[in-house]
Every structure is written in structure tokens, then in C-alpha cells.
């Protein structure tokens, strides 16, 4: 039954992927730009939803891995002339390795302490990059060669987002989901049943970090220039988190809904630059207050059957 649902998800994802893959041939440049942004944010949001919505690790460390991916990608491109697929694979590995390196420390922390620990990690990495001249210091690094054209970058972002969505589908639709939810609900009780909570959390953390690092790499190549304040900026963390909360935390479709909403809202409000942020804040407050399960939660109440991954 569960596998049946998984194959359904796979089908939809494959269909969407094929459809979107050919978007550059009929969509406008603007639509492509927006889609690129959606794919990057979707990857971040899916990863954050896996960590927080499913495993229960409230992370404020998204920026650490975006920055890591950016710097690793530039190192590979500038020093070795690596092609993008290679860059993505290495960045994913780097993200997973960093996650594995810091997890012995971070996983000792529970609840709000884990959260501030991840926040401190991002701040620490940013400060280190600013001060270490090896990595360009505060001036950052420029890509030596021109980045590939938008259509090609779009395909990279789309592929990363597909990998992220596939991974989340597997986490949500297979027996893995039972284990993940057990760890989130009651770590001790799960351990008493033979689940190794540390490994489960580490696997989720490494997976999310690998995905985020890949998104960071694509975004950095798109920019052509990186420096610590932008690459390790808190804004990445806040974006991922607010998109998932707006979309509906813990819901399978929450990240997608949140990303679409926030990106569209940003575009619509961009013509009022002075008030843009304040209006976003007001909308955020109203949504949190009156749509507790986010956009998806709101819609789900209208349907009887729900596609809920798990309750928050």
C-alpha cells in the first residue's frame, strides 16, 4: 500500500520533471528565472521540512550549507575546471561530511539548544570565511569562467530539486517514514525498540545538508561571485524556514506551496520596494494566525482525505 503511494509520487515527479525539463523551449526568460529561483528555494525548503517537520530537528543552520556548497563549487570550478555534475556530487559529499563532522557536537543538544547551536555554526563559518584570506576573505571569490547560460543552470536546479523531492518522497512514503516519525515523537522509546536515533538523525541531517549544499552550488554558479556575507547570510535560513511555515510544516506539499507563495508574493510586491518587507511581515503574521497548518493545512481542511506526511 505504501509502495503503491510511493510509485504514485514517483510518477507525478517524473511527469513534472519531464514537462519542466522542456520549459526553456517555450517559457519566457522571466518564467525561467522565477522557476530557477523556485527550484533552489524548493530544495532548501524540502530539506528544512525533512529536518524539522519530519525528524523534529529545528535547524537554523541552512546558511552554513548553502555557503559551503558555494565555496566548494567555486574551488572546484576555478582550480580544477570541474563540470557541473561533478561539482554537484562533490558538494553533496561535502555537505554530508560537514554534517557528519558537526553532528557529534550538535546532537548532544536537544530542543532549543540544538536550534541555537545550528545558528551559531552558521555564524561561526561566516566569521571564519571573512577572516581567512585563503578563501578570499571578505571580498570573496569570482568565477573564472562565465557561468553557463540560464537554460542550462535551470536544468541543474531542476535536477537538484528533483533529487530533493525524490528523497523526500522516499522518506515520506516508505517504511523509512515510520522510523523517522518514531525518532521525532519519542527518541527514547524509539531506542528501546531497536531504532538507533543517532544514526537516523545523522542520516537525515546529512541528506538535508547534501541537498542544501547542491542548491548552494547552483546558486553560486548562477551568481558568478560569492562572498561570506551573502553566501552564509542568515537570509537563507530565514527564507527556508518561513517558506515551510507558510506552506505548512510537516506536510508533504508544504514546501512547494510555501515556495510558490513567497516567490510570487515577492514578485508582486517588488514594485513597492520601500514597503515590501513590512508587507511581507504583515502577511506572515496573518497567515500564522489564521492558517495554522499553513496554506496546505488550510486546503486540507477542505478535503476529507489528507496527504499529510505526519502531524507537526
Amino acid at each position: 500500500m505504501r509502495l503503491h503511494r510511493l510509485s504514485g509520487d514517483m510518477g507525478i515527479l517524473a511527469g513534472a520533471f519531464v514537462l519542466l525539463w522542456f520549459a526553456p523551449s517555450f517559457a519566457s526568460d522571466y518564467a525561467l528565472q522565477i522557476s530557477f529561483r523556485v527550484m533552489i528555494y524548493l530544495t532548501l525548503a524540502e530539506s528544512w521540512n525533512l529536518l524539522t517537520g519530519s525528524v523534529g530537528l529545528v535547524s537554523l543552520g541552512t546558511a552554513s550549507f548553502v555557503g559551503l556548497g558555494s565555496y566548494v563549487a567555486f574551488g572546484l570550478a576555478n582550480h580544477f575546471g570541474a563540470p557541473i555534475p561533478v561539482i554537484l556530487v562533490v558538494c553533496a559529499l561535502a555537505g554530508a561530511v560537514l554534517a557528519a563532522l558537526v553532528s557529534p557536537a550538535l546532537f548532544r543538544l536537544r530542543g532549543v539548544y540544538f536550534t541555537v547551536g545550528t545558528l551559531a555554526l552558521a555564524a561561526l563559518l561566516q566569521l571564519l570565511m571573512v577572516n581567512l584570506p585563503t578563501f578570499g576573505g571578505a571580498s570573496g571569490i569570482f568565477l573564472k569562467h562565465d557561468p553557463p547560460p540560464l537554460a542550462s543552470l535551470y536544468h541543474d536546479a531542476l535536477s537538484v530539486a528533483l533529487v530533493a523531492s525524490l528523497a523526500m518522497a522516499i522518506c515520506a512514503r516508505t517504511r523509512i517514514s515510520v522510523i523517522i516519525r518514531a525518532v521525532r515523537d519519542d527518541e527514547d522509546a524509539a531506542a528501546q525498540m531497536g531504532v538507533r536515533p543517532y544514526r537516523v538523525k545523522l542520516a537525515a541531517f546529512a541528506l538535508a545538508s547534501a541537498l542544501i549544499a547542491m542548491a548552494g552550488a547552483v546558486q553560486a554558479i548562477n551568481l558568478g561571485a560569492i562572498e561570506p556575507y551573502g553566501a552564509f547570510g542568515l537570509q537563507w535560513t530565514i527564507d527556508a524556514l518561513s517558506m515551510v511555515i507558510i506552506g505548512g510544516i510537516g506536510w508533504r506539499l508544504g514546501p512547494l506551496a510555501g515556495v510558490l507563495f513567497v516567490v510570487m508574493l515577492g514578485e508582486m510586491l517588488a514594485n513597492y520596494p520601500e514597503a515590501h518587507i513590512a508587507i511581507t511581515g504583515v502577511i506572515l503574521i496573518v497567515l500564522i494566525r489564521f492558517a495554522p497548518g499553513g496554506i496546505v493545512g488550510m486546503f486540507a481542511r477542505l478535503f476529507t482525505r489528507s496527504t499529510r506526511l505526519s502531524s507537526p
Partner: protein
Amino acid sequence: MPDFGTVASAILSGLLLGGMMGLIALGLSIVLGVMRLVNLAHGVFLVMGAYAGLYFLKLTGFDPLLALPLLALGIAALALPLYRYLLAPLAQRGPEAQLMTMFAVAIILQNLFVFVFSADTRSIERSYATLPLSLGAITVPLIYVIGFAIAVALILAIHGLIAHTGFGRDLRASAADPAAAATLGVNVQRVQMLTFALGTACAGVGGVLIGVAFQFSPSSGGAYLLNSLAIVVLGGLGNVPGTLAGGMILGLLQSLGGLTLGDGYRDIVGMALFLLVLVFRPEGFLAARRA
């Protein structure tokens, strides 16, 4: 190698500054303890306090440090409607909803400050803020000593309030088990509202001190928020004297880090220390002293 005077002055000013940071962190700490809320608008409340001090001086000509109680009350009063209309309705909804709401409040207020006061860097100009205080080879800014004295006095007053009064008992009970406290007759919403106001007032008073001693702009709040979080963890959640000690330790170590590694590494030392404490004593470095 720097001489004795430089080292001693750095250590002392680090400690004094840490005391002021302790007051700011205390506001964050009590709100976190009672409401389980990491108040992401804490830094913006600090900036609000600084603007309040600046305009108080401009409009009345009176020294804002002398009018601190008045300013604190004013800022606390602003926190009440925020609690009543934004936070209280979300009380049953878990911490994320309140967290995100306060984040939204922070960006709205910051935007509002830019709009009303412009993005300019401001400072509350007082003549004593630029006087040195020398003791032999040791020189520290007089304002650090004044700020430290005010901060310590307030921290001790809050400690007394929490440890020895009926309100403090209600506060501790609400923090430990809000449902049980309510059943015993404690108006938990009122306690939370007053705690939120008190925490906001701490940020506001800290903001006036920062405004006089340093400078501020609408976007200054973020750095103080991060520092305060580090201090809360260092001092142990809900531990009032620990928060003061945590602030002073952080200030001291940042000064020492700056002296030994260069000032570029000040913040790194703070962050690294913060992570180390988190990892080895997540309940706080000084939590053992907790009652």
C-alpha cells in the same frame, strides 16, 4: 606583546561591557523561560529603546539615563499590546508560531525605523560618554562603568523580584508548568504578558545604554540578539545571576580573544566558546547554581 595597561584595560572593559550585555540577555532569558519563546524581535526592541532615549533627550533635554525608569515603563507599555493581540492568541499553537510572529514583528519594526528615523547611524550624545576613567595604567571609558552599574543594579533587582516576591513565584510556577499554575489560581496569561513586558524593558534599557555608550541604526539589533543568545546559553536558562556572569565571561573572553588573536577574531572567539559550552554543558555553564 601589549603592555600591562593595555591588557588590564581590555580585560576590565570586557567585563564591564559584558555586564551590560548580561542585562540585555536577561530580557531574552526570562521570555524564553516563561513563554518558551526565542524572541527574534529582542534586538529590534533594543534599537527601539535607543531611539526612545535619543528622542527623549531631543524633546525634553533631560538625560535619558536619569529617566531610565520612565523609558523602561514606556517600552514595556508598548510590549503589552504586542502580547495581547499577537502572541496571546497563539499560546496554544506551539513555539514556532510565536517565533515566526516575532520575526515578522522584527522586520516590520526595522522597516518602520528606516522609514521614520532613516537608516542613519545615531548616537545619544552625552559628554560623560566620552570621558576616560583612569586608575594607574588602566583606563576604561567612564560610560562602561556607569552602564555596568546600572545593568548590575537592574539585574539584581530582577533577581530579587523573581526569587523573593509573589509575582516571582507566579513567574517561576508558570515557567515550570503553566497548566498546573493556572489551576492553582495563577493568571498565567497575565504573568506571561508582564514577563514579556519586563523582557522588552530589559532590551529597551540596554538599548539606551548602548545608544549612549556606542551607536545604533535600525539594523543594529541582530548582532545583539545573537550575543544575547550566547549569554543565555552560557549562563543557563532562567538563571538570573548566571546571566550576569555569562555576560561578563563572554565579554572577558572576547577581549582576550581580541588581544591574542587580533580583533578580527573577537566574534569568532565568542561564537566558538558558545558552541563549546553548548556541546559540553548544554544546560549552561553555570546551571549548577540554579535553585
